[in-house]
């Protein structure tokens, strides 16, 4: 069996790096506008590495919200990663705990979905390192650039690139959907539940994704385990 390592990981992560480019650039720009120094903005991207939470923190900082509440909100927005790393644990090769503790830092919505949709049954640590390194470099590098130049992309490009991360998710989902009704149902049910949360406003985005993902995964497991004995 061909084992895919670090270089293959870099390649698989390149589309994430492209998707992060406009998002990180804008984060650097907004951080500057909020009053963060380049060191502060860069440190946030280096140590937190979580897009949505970083954006929200900027609006909370400029609204003068208490630091404890900003941190609590970050926790709530990012708690969905718990579900993702639990799922990823089933997919990754066995390795030293310190290595797993290290690459755990690099698990985002995007790196998780790229790693978890790989065709091989066990993903190498070196492959994960490649995916994460190129994504992380883009995130940190373009945060710095956004703060430095203090301007965003031309409007038409900014608008066009805002689709990038969603196109990535579509590009990961569709190949698994082909001829696989279970995958289609999983995505569809989660999409419907999440849309209900979105339009009713019952749950904030972080919770909505967590609850709709878990609900869909459990519902489909209940249906398929009833349908045929394993």
């Amino acid at each position: 069996m061909k084992v895919r390592g670090f270089t293959a990981g870099l390649k698989a992560g390149a589309s994430i790096a492209i998707g992060y480019f406009p998002v990180a650039l804008t984060f650097g720009l907004l951080a500057k506008a909020t009053g963060l120094s380049i060191a502060e903005a860069t440190a946030m991207s280096i140590f937190v590495f979580a897009g949505a939470a970083q954006y929200i923190s900027l609006s909370l900082i400029s609204a003068g919200v208490a630091p404890v509440l900003i941190i609590l909100n970050t926790f709530i927005v990012n708690i969905r990663h718990f579900l993702m790393t639990a799922a990823l644990n089933e997919k990754m090769e066995t390795d030293a705990t310190w290595k797993k503790a290290l690459y755990a830092f690099g698990i985002t919505d995007e790196t998780f979905t790229v790693l978890a949709t790989q065709k091989e049954s066990l993903v190498k640590t070196s492959f994960a390192a490649g995916v994460i390194l190129i994504s992380y470099s883009s995130w940190v590098g373009f945060t710095v650039l956004g703060h430095l130049i203090g301007a965003s992309l031309p409007q038409f490009l900014q608008a066009a690139m805002s689709i990038a991360l969603y196109a990535l998710f579509v590009g990961l989902l569709v190949p698994s959907m082909r001829g696989n009704r279970k995958v289609v149902s999983l995505a569809l049910i989660a999409a419907v539940i999440n849309s209900v949360f979105y339009f009713t406003g019952w749950l904030s985005t972080g919770w909505a994704i967590l609850v709709s993902t878990l609900a869909s995964s459990v519902i489909i497991e209940l249906i398929s385990s009833k349908g045929g004995k394993r």
């Binding site: 502060e40 970050t74 644990n89 797993k100 993902t213």
Partner: protein, 102 residues
């Protein structure tokens, strides 16, 4: 910003890292019940559904960006293209649309 911003960054870093690290380090080498394993195996595809919908439609204030972008992404993906081609192709389609309406 004062020194407090550094405390905010440290706090954010910790509460973001903890949910990422606990399952990968504590569950390592532990055999979970088969039903739990099956549910965990379902999660990647369910989370993709939730990450895409409905957010893909609201990437810009003008909803047509989302609609055209979604159609382009799914169309390119169903043609059998790699994720990278889906990303670049969708950006290209929306760049053209953006220039046309601009």
């Amino acid at each position: 910003m004062g020194a407090w911003i550094w405390w905010v960054i440290i706090g954010m870093a910790l509460v973001t890292y903890i949910p990422r690290a606990i399952p990968l380090t504590f569950l390592a080498g532990r055999e979970l019940p088969p039903a739990v394993q099956n549910v965990l195996r379902n999660i990647p595809f369910a989370v993709l559904g939730a990450l895409i919908f409905p957010a893909i439609f609201f990437v810009q204030e003008n909803i047509w960006f989302g609609i055209i972008g979604a159609v382009a992404a799914f169309g390119i993906a169903f043609s059998g293209a790699s994720a990278m081609v889906v990303v670049l192709g969708s950006i290209a389609v929306l760049a053209v649309f953006s220039l046309l309406i601009g």
